[in-house]
Symmetry: C2
Subunit: 330 residues, 2 copies
């Protein structure tokens, strides 16, 4: 089934891209089109909207009716990237200068704001009945709001001394969980009038998959790197409050904890390669990497329990999506 | 009648403030409440939401049903202030450091994003039927989007050499026009099922009142100042593309135009008091100030013509609001 999901992503990706060009026309002379398409052109695999459409279809709905909502999720994703790049002071994304670097902070903030307006617009013109449209607007707005709440915790979690796994989980459930679940919830709403029993379960799924996805992402940074020229440990350089950092902070003895916090609170440009290596050694000493792997796998297993409670005959699609997301989504 | 509007603003202001505290609770430990209330506590006269409620009542509706929408307008207004202060690099607002200065750019952007989520939320929980709720969401989103489009022009209009009155009007119709009209349009939608004939006229009114309001605001900067410690000509220091600048750019002879552009493109901190005085002299030489006053008054007169076409027995309220806004709103 995994292959089918990849196949579907390709097919739906084309539909999403076509509608994207309609909702946000390129080459307009308005100081918005240019910075936004500078960003959009850098790529993106349209996984989030595709998962919305797959869910809708597998639950018996017409994915064309969910297309505008699916696109809104994709636009929201890109809006967050624009604002996050400013907030994190990231200068490069997919080998291109970020929007704020190329067009200035003012244009980057404002372009993000514009994307959000077009995301709501896309839902507002969806070809579906009013009651379901309102429901879609509700879950979309909830997702937007919760993701912003998670981002607030993230911004203020860099190099915090008393960081815990509990704080980490709260952050990623907000910042990643709603976001991952929202497309599936929307797909379910478009597919059926009797969605109430389904959507609660999908939100619960998000609360498990969000952390699972994020922990895998944290691990990728320590193994193959996050695609920033093969650099390993950029989260450590940035002082990002990863699962590894949270877990080790709780487990480590005083001396190790002190070293850890000292390095994680350093400015990015002051963190040396030896510092990164030292943090990795501390992580290994307390078995943080194995523990993280185990923890993420447990979350996926727990998500299967939730999926089994979803009132649908097609549970396989949710399991496939859960696996796909945890393994492949970056 | 003018006194009645001021009286209504006071009464409705209290209701708005109470609901604001419900929708955005102060003193939450979430890194959002604190920066947002740092900003909200600096004041604001709640004129925009009050005008929504006045319109609703005068058109025969129940203003309590419009309260959530009115609040959304107020929240949107504050969201723009948060983001604009970063974009314009303004360090002080109402004698307090701006949010980005006190809490950093990351928290300021994210707090603005959160405000927007809560504005949509406020509309989504309005106690009104679904079809009207959707209509309110549509006009709110349109207003948000057009204001952002106007801001894009504004960000990129500083010290532009070939600035014209036409460009100025396009900018302020987008950035100020929708915004001023939106509360009235929403009030009309809540008041009546047969709002179609009314709302087109109110949008048209916004396209006249937006520039009228903005031109008055441009003039205030040259007479009593904008409340920044009595400083006259801060728009000139900032190189802001005001009506005066647009008009004089078109009228001035080559030498004057050259001086004008030279001063307006200087960095704020490099603009001397003599520079400001020189620009004021050029404005006066071409009668820009009198022309601006006349132009704004003509826009108000044109707005009366539109108001006379609004299918309601109570046209006085719109004329009072138009006058009030053009004269008092800052």
């Amino acid at each position: 089934m995994q292959t089918n999901i990849e196949e579907s992503i390709k097919i739906y990706g084309k539909k999403i891209d076509d509608l994207l060009k309609e909702i946000i026309p390129p080459d307009r002379d308005d100081f918005l089109s240019e910075p936004i398409w500078h960003h959009l052109k850098t790529g993106g695999k349209r996984i989030r909207p595709a998962i919305c459409l797959i869910t809708c279809k597998e639950l018996g709905g017409n994915p064309d009716e969910a297309l505008h909502f699916a696109l809104a999720i994709e636009i929201l994703h890109n809006m967050f990237l624009l604002h996050d790049d400013i907030e994190d002071e990231d200068t490069m994304r997919r080998d291109q200068p970020t929007v704020w670097v190329k067009y200035g902070i003012a244009n980057a903030i404002n372009s993000g704001d514009y994307l959000l307006a077009r995301a709501y617009h896309s839902i507002l013109i969806s070809p579906i009945p009013s009651d379901r449209k309102l429901k879609l607007l509700e879950i979309f707005n909830l997702t937007y709001e919760k993701t912003v709440e998670g981002q607030a915790l993230d911004i203020n979690a860099r190099g915090v001394a008393d960081y815990t796994v509990e704080k980490y989980l709260k952050l990623v459930r907000l910042k990643t969980g709603y976001y991952l679940a929202c497309g599936m919830v929307g797909g379910a709403i478009v597919a059926s009038e009797n969605f109430e029993g389904t959507i609660d379960k999908i939100w619960a799924l998000g609360k498990l998959m969000g952390p699972a996805f994020q922990i895998k992402d944290d691990l990728i940074d320590l193994t193959v790197g996050k695609g920033r020229g093969g650099v390993i440990g950029s989260d450590i350089q940035e002082g990002k409050a990863s699962f590894l950092y949270a877990y080790t902070s709780e487990q480590a003895e005083n001396n190790d904890k002190k070293s850890l916090i000292e390095i994680m609170t350093k400015q990015r440009e002051e963190t040396t390669d030896d510092d990164v290596k030292h943090v990795l050694d501390i992580y290994n000493k307390y078995g943080a990497i194995d523990h993280a792997q185990q923890y993420a796998d447990d979350l996926i297993k727990q998500s299967y329990v939730i999926i089994d409670k979803i009132p649908t005959n097609n549970k396989t699609v949710f399991k496939d999506i859960a696996n796909f997301m945890a393994q492949r989504m970056t």
